[in-house]
């Protein structure tokens, strides 16, 4: 079985940003992404998700190293100052590289 290396970019942030981030990802050229509702606790206190304003989302994007760099720089420039946002990158192996 032949597999190819890709980057998995995971973003955990405020649900209010869902629309803007979808726009951004499409514009930057991501071929797909997955959005999940998320709960948890961190720098901004408990995000319990029992109220619109405390809802979090987790976005996962599998993409090339080049695109992940572009997305990271964009998110850092636009959102880091004013929004709760966690971002990390991991290595994944995919079977159909043309999809990502």
């Amino acid at each position: 079985m032949k597999s190819t290396q890709r980057k998995l970019l995971t973003i955990i942030t405020e649900a209010a940003l869902e629309g803007s981030l979808e726009n951004d990802l499409e514009k930057l050229g991501a071929k797909g992404y997955t959005i999940l509702d998320a709960r948890g606790s961190g720098h901004n206190g408990l995000r319990s998700a029992n109220w619109d304003a405390t809802k979090n989302i987790r976005i996962e994007v599998i993409c090339s190293e080049e695109l992940s760099g572009k997305v990271i720089n964009h998110l850092k420039d636009v959102y880091y100052d004013n929004y709760a946002m966690i971002l990390f990158v991991s290595e994944v192996e995919v079977l159909r590289p043309e999809k990502f």
Partner: protein, 321 residues
């Protein structure tokens, strides 16, 4: 008539308010109680549609033209209110520009939950009001958000107005209110009869459950109150009273009934905690969302629901002589 008995005091209190108090108490006592988010969503959808439908029934077969002055007047109120609150927040409260603009937007806009409680208050006392008042909710919800963003940023190129308009005009509350109004306007009260068990007969029950959840949510906000100090609390109590005075005077000018004016006063007094926070979060990112939400949800909402609405009714009766 002797001294008021428990029974006579009890019968004066709206039971739905007690559900709010119950939620508040349960939250403060850390009772592991919480409506599942999907149920909360359903309750708010039912409330919004029911309010829209109620208003639309009255508009069915009514001439639209006489409503134009009311629509213009109420729209203007939405534009004016943020301009009154903004300087107070900025210069008296010494808040940052973004925070002052964000809070001004919250208080210029409306809270549908508060509106529903005001409807319940008047209906329980058989006080008549213009049934098309839900139209006012739709009109008042929008302008303050736009004024707030302009106050924070001016006509900055950085604002993604497309996203803002999407959020403001096609947000859940506007679409459901207008949708309900339109459906009832098209079919009239006869056509709505098969639906009335769900939307009208259950209205009070749905509102009670909604307020129970609101009580729980508000109890979570109270802990952040201490962080932001006295000014915010004082503002969150005074702003609704000032707003209500504008509503009462406008209601008098527009020739509304006492009931209708009480509703308009309540709307002018209420602060948004659903539509505006979402729109402001994306368009004024540097504003602290906890600040505005603590004020409008933690202080103003309970204030309006428990003492504000009867007080605005009292003021309206005084003003109308």
């Amino acid at each position: 008539m002797g001294a008021p008995t428990w029974a006579s005091v009890g019968s004066m209190i709206d039971p739905i308010i007690l559900f709010f108090v119950l939620g508040l108490a349960a939250g403060l006592l850390r009772t592991p109680l919480r409506l599942p988010p999907a149920i909360y969503d359903l309750l708010s959808i039912l409330l919004l549609l029911a309010i829209g439908l109620k208003g639309g029934v009255e508009l069915h077969g009514q001439d639209f033209l006489p409503l134009v002055p009311q629509i213009v007047g109420v729209g203007l109120l939405g534009f004016i209110l943020p301009f009154i609150f903004y300087p107070v927040l900025k210069y008296l409260g010494k808040l940052k520009k973004a925070d002052a603009a964000s809070i001004a937007a919250h208080y210029g806009s409306v809270s549908v939950g508060t509106f529903a409680v005001a409807l319940g208050y008047l209906e329980a006392r058989k006080i008549p009001f213009e049934e098309h008042v839900p139209l006012f909710v739709v009109i008042l919800e929008i302008p303050a958000i736009i004024v707030g963003i302009l106050l924070a940023k001016g006509l900055s190129k950085n604002t993604n107005w497309k996203l803002v308009f999407q959020e403001v005009f096609f947000g859940k509350s506007i679409v459901l209110l207008v949708g309900g109004l339109a459906i009832a306007w098209i079919v009239g009260s006869e056509g709505l009869k098969p639906l009335s068990p769900l939307f009208f007969d259950l209205f009070k029950g749905v509102l009670a459950l909604f307020l129970l959840e609101m009580g729980l949510v508000v109890s979570k906000q109270l802990s952040s109150l201490r962080k932001y100090g006295v000014f915010l609390v004082v503002f969150a109590v005074c702003a609704p009273i000032v707003g209500s005075l504008f509503g009462i005077v406008l209601g008098g000018w527009l020739g509304l009934s006492i009931g209708g004016t009480t509703i308009l006063a309540t709307l002018a007094a209420s602060g948004s905690y659903i539509a505006v926070p979402a729109a402001v979060r994306i368009s004024i990112p540097e504003a602290n969302p906890t600040l505005s939400l603590t004020a409008s949800l933690g202080v103003t909402f309970p204030f309006n629901v428990v003492v504000g609405i009867p007080f605005y009714y009292y003021l309206t009766v005084l003003y109308f002589g």
